[in-house]
């Protein structure tokens, strides 16, 4: 039993940490967030050069062959800088689906392009009505000869406006919320009939609603088996949830550190406000909240090799704790920063907003707690 990182994992962590420290200060981050795409393609090329885009992919495709721990250390550091570049959307979701369910041809064509930074991807899974239920899909995928015809609309697609390639979760059979009958389809973002409407989210990222009107793609562009998309997307989303929790941990650590630092320097009544016991105990509470998330994250990462109920329950639990403790931590960070805490000028609010987005991505705390209860307590 050990909680040590390997030398390679340590180097990966240091590499991302250095980038965040040297090239991603808060002002720079604000400028990137305000840019048209809400991310920097120049940075994306740097990510490619540093090898980060190759981390979770198999060595056969030029990847690093990394596991959940490698992803975790990177995401935690990305969280510390509230990095906007679409690592989750392109590498972990789009790339993760290809790695898991893609055909040999799809993998050979697209994974090297992801790794070299020349292909941005997105996973279009949400619809207006689906809320947190990822199987609630109305977009249709109908077979016509050797073609697939897509019709429908996807919403809040992360990196949807910039992506070159999309993987769309569409329904080819079954009822609206069935796990069976979901088909994942590769669609070039510039295909005829694809229309994208971009907008910004509170954490700075640009997302898109995407409509598909009689979009035709070859049947060969199905990712995995027709109607069996859920089996591909479910484990990819489970891993993405753990990665998001790692990003959240990085954010929580920054919020705590910045708040602590502030209470040591901010004086009121002639003394640093950190000398007040009422505030000290609250910062101890947020310290413990952070440590608890870290413990559960490590637990989930250690259990990710499995794909049974125990793994699923652990990841649901993690997302519950991230939601609950995240709110506690950013709430205290804002409160203890006083008036400055509610300004746009200070970074605290920006960290908070990213945490809020993480909480609502792939299901909020209540959603995951209900799933946890169902797995653990239903007869």
């Amino acid at each position: 039993m050990n909680f040590e990182f390997t030398e390679e994992q340590g180097m990966l962590r240091d590499s991302v940490a250095r980038f965040v420290q040297d090239s991603y200060d808060f002002d720079t981050r604000c400028k990137i967030a305000a840019s048209d795409e809400g991310m920097s393609r120049e940075n994306w090329q740097t990510f490619a050069e540093l090898g980060w885009l190759s981390v979770p992919f198999a060595e056969a495709h030029g990847g690093f062959g990394g596991g959940p721990v490698d992803t975790m250390v990177m995401m935690e550091e990305f969280g510390k800088g509230i990095v906007l570049e679409p690592y989750l959307a392109t590498v972990l979701l789009f790339g993760g689906l290809l790695q898991r369910g893609g055909s040999v041809e799809q993998q050979a064509e697209l994974i090297p392009r992801i790794i070299e930074g020349s292909c941005l991807g997105a996973f279009a899974y949400l619809e207006r009505q689906s809320r947190h239920a990822i199987t609630d899909i109305k977009t249709t995928a109908a077979v016509q000869g050797d073609q697939l015809v897509l019709n429908g609309e996807k919403v809040v697609v992360f990196n949807g406006a910039s992506a070159d390639q999309l993987i769309v979760a569409a329904r080819s059979s079954g009822e609206q919320s069935d796990e069976d009958g979901i088909t994942l389809v590769l669609v070039p973002a510039d295909a005829a009939g694809v229309e994208r409407t971009a907008y910004r989210m509170m954490d700075g990222q640009v997302v898109a609603n995407i409509t598909f009107t009689d979009v035709r793609v070859p049947v060969a562009d199905i990712v995995g088996e027709a109607g069996e998309g859920y089996a591909v997307m479910s484990p990819v989303i489970t891993r993405a949830n753990v990665a998001l929790a790692a990003e959240a941990l990085g954010i929580m650590g920054q919020l705590n550190a910045k708040t602590l630092e502030y209470t040591k320097t901010r004086k009121q009544f002639d003394v640093p406000i950190g000398s007040f016991q009422a505030l000290q105990h609250r910062m101890v509470d947020t310290f413990m909240a952070y440590e608890q998330v870290k413990s559960l994250l490590y637990r989930a990462v250690c259990e990710l090799d499995g794909e049974g109920d125990a793994t699923a329950a652990c990841v649901h639990a993690l997302k519950v704790l991230v939601d609950r403790n995240g709110k506690k931590i950013f709430g205290e960070a804002i409160q203890l920063h006083g008036g400055m805490g509610i300004t746009d000028e200070l970074d605290i609010g920006h960290y908070a907003k990213r945490l809020m987005m993480i909480n609502t991505t792939f299901g909020n705390g209540d959603y995951h707690q209900a799933k946890f209860n169902e797995l653990r307590y239903s007869a």
Partner: protein
Amino acid sequence: MDTSFAPEDLAFRDEVRAFFAEAYDSELQARLNNLETFKEAVIDWQKRLYKKGWIAPGWPKEYGGTGWNATQKFIYETERSAAGIRDVIPFGLNMVGPVIYAFGNEEQKARFLPGILQSDDWWCQGYSEPGAGSDLASLKTRAVREGDEYVVTGAKIWTSYAQYADWIFCLVRTSNEGKKQNGISFLLIDMKSPGIKVNPIVSIDNHHSLNEVEFNEVRVPVANLIGEQDKGWTYAKALLAHERTAIAGVADSKRSLAETRAFAEREVNGGKSLLSDPLFQKRLSDIEIELMALEFTELRVLATVAAGGAPGAESSMLKIKGTEMQQAVQELRMEVAAYYQGVLPNDLTPEQLGHDFGSQARQTYMYGRASTIYGGSNEVQKNIIAKAVLGL
């Protein structure tokens, strides 16, 4: 990073399971649950552990410990809890023992450690005083040196099982100069010494485990002083870190939660199992999720200790979260028991009464209020973390 069990760990787990299954029987359990036979049953059980060589997993091997690594200690604790076996009485084995082997002289080690390991000596803890609770260093029980003896006068309070004890380890004041943490000494006192009086305190669970211990010019040989005179606070602090880590009781809370869940499953509310009630499920998973995290927090601390680190301020976090979890489970079990939580101990059978765990649930719940107070109140633990970890 890897927390999976190696084949030798799994073999060890099987060995532990097999031993508990054989050595801890229902007859022993019945004697442990009976106040009349409690003391001799505890000693009996601890002697079985001693014979097996497992009485002191936390001790270094040279002093009679097991030499287990962090994983083995974790497995042992988990299996002990899962088998429903209470931890050893901590005062000798987890508290004064480690102080003696770390800070005592060779003569003291030879004299006291065997009695602790073999459970021939029952120890109790003389720390708190009527005027010194969370502010432990303000203690006033004084020890005045006269020749080869200290003369001890004062009072200790909240002393668990003093009525059974052969020995008490005490913090006493030997000097009033300088900071109050200076001038405290660590003394081992024979409970049969003339001038000691034990006064029972009945606690909120209607039981008598707590006492006040009065010292009226009790004469203690200087040979019973641990380390140097006036340096006892240093030794006491080392002990407290061990104590706090042990108090967390994560494995016990896990078992207790599993039992509570089983009680809820057979409890019927409006024709349905209480376990199927979404609000109850929410309360249950609130606790279970925190416990899943705390289990790994404990593992992380164990791994740090195994790598040569000492349990420092992390032990304060384990104490706070661990006791909060204990109380959360106790409270939930009271909810499951509903009105039967009110039943006082009686001679009725569960069949006559119609229920089998309410009374016990209340006693555990009531006495459980102490856990956030003892070992340094949780508020004091927060002060420690604020200072030692946050640098405030």
